[in-house]
Symmetry: D2
Subunit: 487 residues, 4 copies
């Protein structure tokens, strides 16, 4: 098999950093060595097939984005990234694994939803991929089907306290699913917003002709995220289920999670770059020449962007430092403005929910290192090591150690990345990066003081020198084990 | 240089485990490799000088005990372990580094205290050692001297809110020292008990002829630990100093630490095995034929053992799971009953404070893995990785990675360890282990479902096959950097 | 009109006590006077029609029981006290006003439910009575009807988070009703238990043949009371509605209420004597010769009696001291064992929920004064003054002051009351008191170090010298105003 | 004796209001009566000596200012109000009782301090007065003397955690005094600021030439108020002493008090109008033509005015609503700018600490009713009823009921009061009110939508129609009982 040496870099882990070389043999990491090793008489660098020079750069485990929605049907349209386009964009950004959500909707069978997802992904992915299972209809059949998922490498399922009539589970259903979670060890993932209450508020706003994207954020009040988070925690406490709250955006929801964690409960939280950087006032309330107040539609997602004046963004950064929130995923779910977001002109409830960020997560979080929000080690922990541990991938993914898949990113702290559409409306090149299948960027104009130089996925260099060298089908399905993060 | 391969074991880190071999070249780790590697044509195992078989065993970074008091003068006597006997016992127990406390007492110079400590330790230690500086007299001179300590590799100092007239600092002194802590990056360590209040209570008890060791625990009420902990936190908040609270034993003190940490403050806590396993009722209140109610003197230490009925022990275990307490040290400070603890017959205030545990920390904490209190990874994190990060040793210590000192322990989960005096009072062998210089064991009769098989210290096998193979002077002084654990 | 002087007693209010005489003229209090007043030349005692001697006794405002269910249909039967029998028993116990719950059930009109309640009560009551409105079906019609209630003197309505299919409101309904609460100033009362979750647990227990009354308490876990309490608080916060949580029994629910109150939210809690004195283990788990383990059925109510081992009872007493719970009502809802509680033999879910306590509330709470749980003033505040303020009756009720209705109780701290059935099963007199229409007492054997001597209701002596002197129809409907207790 | 009827008003108590007339006979209240009573044939109004018409006005118990410092020696000068001038100003403002602090300083005898205070006050006061005892030197002698104070009607003592070398008690002294507090039932009052730490900060600021009054507020950081408050709470918990924290100004200190109260501890807090209305930025940071940045000296007091940006003022108002703070006193301690405050030109540490507010407390707090911060009832509770209960005066003071001293204020909600110096610098009348012995007003320009019309002190009209009708010596010493507010 091909051997590769990543040489001269600083290997960063969740706990520290070391000057070390990484030897790859085929798809796996063979050894981590002292720099420039002459190992028992053998000059390692001289003996390998390929040497990647990482001098002055960080060598980190490939990013794991544990929350994506490729090709997700939503509100009469479908997320604009396929598994092919989405995972390729991921690779561009230093992410080498995703965990996408297979979907069971109300009245359908879990087995069929899962099969559909396997079909969508198989042979199309640039990087490795696993699945969580969305359970949109908890009943005796689906509970039986859920028990079988662990053997198929799907060790987590997601319920919704929002979206009545689509994905919504009531508390009786949640309770039953959580009992199964406790029994099987599967992780319960929760979209924690009080949907029935939010829908009343949203309808009242529309009735009052408050139909702009801004009111999407008003309707989805933080009180209803906090409430649902607390409720999920108590149901988890009652049943003994481990609980993972997705896309936490309100500081008060963090307080609830911290409260449960202080008592030793297995409760975890995930946030997304949008909740760290963007806000109700600036983005959801944006006005443009082209779109007017509908400009904000670009940032309609749920949970919504929160008020900066109320201080949620700073609090979310802090939650990353205190480990009250343990991971950063993207909730990648892109929609174009044209034909997609446009569906909600005149009624924010009809705007497809989602933002495309899969390509920029590693960069956006690295910028938090630059600005002093988090440490370099915490960056790796939040984006790769903890996601691997949380979702039963650690050892294979999330760490640079012998035996692990050779998913490695060489990140240059002296590089620079400008995010945005590569060509402006007039057709002129902008020097900005964006590879997701969208007609706009939610991150237009963000500047990053660092750069993804080289991306190795299972031993293959898929991004290097500003070129994509991989292919659809490089990525394989990941059978995951149970969470390795429980206390 | 000599090469050694530790082969076939499971390497455990703070974040996970891996089947891997560890290649040592001289005093350092050269590589971590996939098991049974044939590396670029070279059969590694066949090429090294020595192979240590770790099949079926855990391979962990050597333990770091960050809180010891060798030869400490206290109450007219001196801790019974010298640097030679104490560090040898440490090696027996899988601990390969200690950080001891150099002492400045009231009215003395820091420089002199530190020099004395270097003299005591130099050439005598079985394992590597560093120093914290106890500052017993904060004044202009000592503040000036403290600024020089970082360059000498002493990046932390300890103050006392207890022991008026001996080590005690008042709040004005603490404030000034903490300002220096903020300015220099040195860690402020704090003995957090309200000494002036406790001394009043103790005197009142003695006046009431309540003089047994049990009343040591009564006088040092948890309220006064909680109070001092809160006070230290607020002074740290005011100044911006990072704060490390030593030997936390009260659940309410943990609540204060958790409260500060939830707000993102750099506040840390350490506990000790005695606060996890032993109690006011069982140990401080013990009665023996030989010693009567003075039997409890064996366990007189400060902070004291807490009431089991009040639930402190369970809460301390939980604090280890929630990371509200980040480390386990021993506060090793042994005294014999004869001639030493005896000084307090008739007045518990005169009992030298301290328990000897340095030898048993790794075992006692491993037993927490066996009983399900903590995970295997957390065991390594609490006893080695976090101590290294906390006190500026990470990279050299606390981790198995290329370039690190070859401090490695092979731990057998199928072995067994009986703790206690090897010979009973009648002179018969007991099959129990104890190598500290004491006339009793504070841990007599504790059984551990695991065993320290082999201990490698900077590349040298110092314990193996039930034999001590090291020598006084093997250990070197550790110049430490600033904490690598701050958020 | 008739004049009466209550003379020589100690008048107790919510804030203190005074030696004072109370002059009643007709139905109202005319004056409160210095003892033995010769007022501007007139010897008051000599000039009135009647003098009641209260020397050595407490003179307090008549009790207000703000939570009763006379003749309530429940599970195929009906609460065994009519307005006549129930209010007479209330008078016996020193309670001179009740607020009962008019009932709208699912699918019915509020107006009809209220009319029915007026019919049941009119002309039958021994004491004054008001109504809250239970809203079992929040929809556009009932919301419209609710707006009219304030004018009819009904300034509070109650929703249920439990009992799906009977009284249950989902969060969308609660939100709408609370918006009306904010708009009108009506108080939202909440039965805070997560019914859908509880019903799953209950069904699972029955499936496991755990059908005894004890499992009623197991199924209705405190976690589900805590959860619903938090949810109600957040919905109230979102809408701005004042919230009153009925029959709080779990200490964790109190914590939620305290948390909201500390932030200044208008959130209130009520508890009942059963949650202060009785427990899961002792009462719900009771076994008798006659009924076996079904004995516990006597104490099946919701929220259920809580575990004494978990410490709820002590916490509830404390909540009365800290004012985190502001009132004590009874939730009086009696059922006989025969033909009523018996319906649940073999399935605890079918046991009619309720305990009869209306007669004993003043005595049981006074016993808390005797045992030092609460002060004498707090007794008056919890049982009369705050209920009056909370529900818009203050001035007319809840206080001894000129202009107020002459509802006055003379309570003898040197008297004694034995609670229980007056005749034992063999037909022998027991010397115990019980006047409710039940075939058993939930308080059998409770001894009170005090005695209700004289009860004056709107100027008429209705109980005195161990005799009932009132008549059905003495009591009138109370048109209540808005709450006078909001901050 | 003279009889007076206050007629036609609304009598307001801590729990509610009533249309009632108040009959005074001599120094006491004889009766509270229904309006316009013809009592047993006697037309009351026609029969009394004097009728005060209170139609359209509030009739409230006279204000009790429980924290004043007349003639207090401080920093080489003395508070500018004597008992005569200060109590006269109090009467002008509707305050009919004060509790002043008798002073023991370090090295002096309590008995002597108390005797001095009696001498200062006797024969000079316009209204009744009591004493707390400041204990500035806790030792065996003073502890013995403190035991005798209860019999002298002094049921509370005050300790200082600030002012080392003047009033400061260390924790050992506090502990001993609190044990006495528990034993005797005396209330421990605490000035809770960490003096030793503050003095370091203050000295450092002065060294940096930051000498303006503004830095008084910087040096006395809220962290040091919070810390001391927590410490006092824990010492009180340890000993079982009831604790009353004076002049609470930081929201974080309130959180500590709320935390203790939620657990049922007897901990109380007092705040002052300056902490509700004034701020670090606006007042301590004020600049005037006459005084430049020294203008802020007018508002130098301790605890200091807090930052409005940090939100303390709003939080203090909220604490009054939640009853986490139970009382409002003034800490009246006036100093003139000339010759007094001037002492601190060039060094804020030398500015005498204190603000004069005794005259305006009732008005300033009533304005909180007008603006909706508190209810009318809460106004009476905070300024009169709770002070009376807290300090053992209830029944005699703090309530309008038969037997109580006839201390009554007629307050006109339709009146208006302009606060400030009655004559401006040019000698022109301003129409503003100020009767304290000061050369400036700390409340210049405050406008109140209400007016103190008539003040009755022990039956004598001392203020009416804008005239002072009382005399020095009207006021008598109040022997107080133990607190009536403990739970
Ligand atoms: Zn979601
Ligand atoms: Zn999602
Ligand atoms: Zn210590
Ligand atoms: Zn120590
Ligand atoms: Zn209910
Ligand atoms: Zn009820
Ligand atoms: Zn003070
Ligand atoms: Zn003062």
């Amino acid at each position: 098999m091909t051997t590769t040496l990543i040489r001269g870099g600083t290997v960063v882990s969740a706990t520290g950093r070391a000057a070390a070389d990484v030897l790859i043999d085929g798809e796996r990491i063979q050894a981590v060595l002292a720099p420039d090793s002459v190992l028992l008489g053998t000059d390692v660098a001289a003996s390998v097939d390929t040497v990647i020079d990482a001098t002055g750069k960080f060598v980190i485990p490939g990013g794991i984005d544990a929350h994506t929605h490729m090709e997700l049907p939503f509100g009469g349209t479908e997320a604009s990234d396929t598994f092919e386009t989405g995972t390729r964009a991921a690779a561009w950004g230093g992410t080498t694994s995703i965990i996408d959500f297979a979907v069971q909707t109300y009245g359908k069978r879990i087995e069929d939803g899962l099969a559909t997802w396997h079909e969508k992904a198989a042979g199309n992915c640039a990087i490795d991929y696993g699945f969580h299972q969305i359970v949109g209809d908890v009943n005796d059949d689906s509970l039986a089907a859920m028990r079988g998922l662990v053997d198929e490498g799907i060790s987590s399922f997601k319920l919704f306290m929002a979206y009545p009539g689509v994905f919504y589970s009531d508390d009786a259903q949640i309770l039953k699913a959580m009992q199964l979670s406790r029994d099987t060890g599967m992780l319960t993932m929760m979209h924690a917003e009080n949907g029935p209450a939010i829908d009343v508020l949203a309808a009242q706003l529309v009735e009052q002709r408050k139909t702009d994207p801004f009111y999407h954020g008003v309707a989805r009040a933080w009180e209803m995220e906090e409430e649902a988070t607390h409720r999920a925690i108590m149901l988890a406490k009652l049943t003994g289920a481990p609980l993972y709250v997705v896309h936490v955006s309100a500081k008060q929801a963090v307080e609830q999670i911290a409260w449960a964690r202080d008592k030793g409960q297995n409760v975890f939280g995930e946030t997304c770059p949008q909740y760290l950087y963007l806000s109700l006032e600036e983005q959801l309330g944006a006005v443009s020449e082209k779109w007017g107040a509908f400009e904000g539609a670009k940032w309609v997602c749920s949970t919504p962007l929160r008020s900066r004046e109320e201080g949620h963004q700073n609090a979310m950064w802090q939650s990353l430092r205190t480990n009250d929130v343990q991971m950063v995923s993207t909730d990648h779910c892109p929609f174009c403005m044209k034909d997609q977001k446009e569906l909600g002109l005149g009624d924010f409830r009809k705007i497809p929910n989602g933002i495309g960020s899969i390509e920029h997560r590693m960069d956006l979080m690295y910028q938090g290192v630059v600005t002093g929000e988090i440490t370099l080690e915490r960056w790796v922990e939040l984006t790769s090591t903890t996601p691997a541990r949380m979702f039963g991938l650690y050892g294979q993914k999330g760490v640079i150690q012998p035996g692990a898949d050779a998913d490695v990113v060489v990140y240059d702290p002296n590089g620079h990345t400008s995010i945005g559409m590569p060509v402006d409306e007039a057709g002129n090149p902008t020097g900005r990066s964006h590879h997701m299948n969208m007609d706009h960027s939610a991150w237009e104009g963000f500047e990053i003081d660092g750069h993804v130089d080289t991306v190795v996925s299972r031993g293959k260099v898929v991004v290097d020198g500003g070129e994509y060298l991989g292919a659809a089908g490089d990525g394989r399905f990941l059978k995951r084990g149970l969470s390795q993060y429980l206390v």
